[in-house]
């Protein structure tokens, strides 16, 4: 079977929507809670952090262009440790995905359809995610390009129309030193570090020019980082420290925008990009989860396990939190630790070091990736 191919634009769009799909709305609030007025500096720090992860991803790609993360585990660490790490990765994926789903459903319900039963969102998102995963990587990548455009348009329109509202200066700078800034940068780092999922789709990348892929990954991460920085600056500039008091600050900014009679209630755009972004983020995460499980169990095709696994994920997601306070605390304070010390930073770092040390003695045989 021919493997679907992803070109550089599609790759960058995947990274873009994958990170910005949920972070665009939520990230200013969580960061400002910890770092205060210096939240935007935290975003710059987290971008640097993400660049390190991006470089590691590329380093892995450079050595294993035809394998995905599960196979790389096995090649690097042997069968037993590799399989343990693989199972861990699947669990990590399902856990992360379940919070993404919960977030998507609860925020869509909370802002846009407050009187609808949350179960409806779960069912609708479930069907969409299953459908997109069954259709395959190619369609997912192409849709991502469209949604990236949508996100960029939303971002630019909101930034431009919010300029007249800016009236809070971003001062004083670094009053409490660097430590709140560094602490604040952990949360966005955990978001940006999700670029590690790209390791799951290495075989799909067009292996024409390796250098291009490196620049694509790094430039996309820098653009995402700039987006994060600007959106944090603008929410701080418009709302001041009120930002930390609000659940979804960017949505509040959009609600305030009022330019003449035409440009009003831009929160509709927010809804647009939120639903589209979250759906694709879920789909991509889910696609990676399915691929990982399939590779782990040595199956030939991934289609038959799509529906049951999605069901399991959505059941877990449905019971993942009791209320928004828990979810916000989890995403702001617990998830960064959970992810950065496992598959987003620590394990890739160990992998790269191992690879660097025993470059010559990597097992060449073992499994091959099949679509």
């Amino acid at each position: 079977m021919k493997i679907a191919e992803i070109n550089n634009l599609q790759l960058s769009s995947i990274i873009f929507t994958q990170i910005l799909g949920t972070s665009l709305l939520i990230i200013p609030g969580t960061v400002v809670q910890i770092a205060g007025v210096d939240g935007w500096i935290s975003q710059i720090v987290s971008t640097l952090m993400a660049l390190i992860v991006g470089t590691m991803v590329f380093y892995l790609y450079n050595n294993f262009p035809h394998d995905n993360l599960i196979i790389i585990f096995e090649k690097l660490f042997g069968k037993i440790i590799g399989n343990i790490l693989g199972i861990g990765f699947v669990i990590y994926c399902i856990l992360s995905l379940s919070t993404v789903i919960k977030q998507g459903c609860s925020i869509t319900g909370y802002i846009f359809l407050p009187e609808t039963s949350p179960l409806i969102f779960f069912i609708v998102f479930f069907l969409i995610v299953v459908y997109i995963t069954k259709v395959g990587m190619n369609a997912l990548a192409r849709t991502n390009v469209l949604v990236m455009l949508l996100l960029i348009i939303t971002f630019v329109v909101i930034i431009i129309t919010a300029v007249p509202l800016l009236n809070v200066p971003l001062k004083p700078l670094l009053l409490e030193g660097l430590s709140p800034v560094l602490k604040g940068s952990l949360t966005p780092s955990s978001w940006m570090g999700q670029v590690i999922l790209i390791t799951m789709i290495f075989p799909y990348l067009t292996s024409g020019n390796k250098k291009n892929i490196k620049t694509t990954i790094l430039i996309t991460l820098i653009v995402v980082g700039i987006d994060h920085t600007i959106i944090t600056m603008f929410t701080l500039g418009v709302l001041g420290l009120e930002t930390k008091d609000l659940l979804i600050p960017v949505y509040s900014v959009a609600k305030l925008i009022e330019i003449d009679l035409i440009w009003r209630r831009l929160d509709v755009m927010i809804m647009f990009s939120w639903v589209a972004g979250v759906t694709l983020k879920m789909s991509f995460w889910y696609f990676c989860t399915v691929l990982a499980l399939k590779q782990l169990l040595n199956l030939n095709k991934y289609e038959p396990i799509v529906f049951p696994l999605a069901f399991l994920t959505f059941v877990i997601a449905y019971y993942s939190t009791n209320n928004t306070v828990e979810l916000t605390f989890y995403l702001g304070n617990i998830y960064p630790i959970l992810s950065l010390f496992s598959y987003e930073f620590a394990i890739p770092l160990i992998m790269c070091l191992t690879l660097f040390i025993r470059r010559k003695r990597i097992r060449k045989d073992s499994k091959e990736f099949t679509p």
């Binding site: 069901f311 019971y319 828990e326 617990i334 959970l338």
Partner: protein
């Protein structure tokens, strides 16, 4: 509960439809995998019915001391 069992039913039907055209050797494998996934989800559901918990809450109670030292 009703919706849950309905979805379980749909899951089983779809699995059967998907698996039928495959070879005999693969069939068993997929049946085992799908079956165990379904059983896990039923367990998750049942535990929640008996004792309401939430995964993030468990995570929070495990990692909270760590998070407090890191973020405060």
């Amino acid at each position: 509960m009703i919706i849950f069992s309905m979805f379980i039913l749909i899951c089983i039907i779809i699995t059967v439809i998907e698996i039928r055209p495959l070879e005999k050797k693969d069939k068993g494998k997929y049946l085992v995998v799908n079956g165990s996934i379904l059983i896990i989800s039923i367990i998750v559901f049942l535990i929640h019915e008996i004792h309401p918990y939430s995964i993030t809450n468990i995570m929070i109670s495990i990692f909270k001391p760590f998070a407090n030292t890191l973020f405060s």
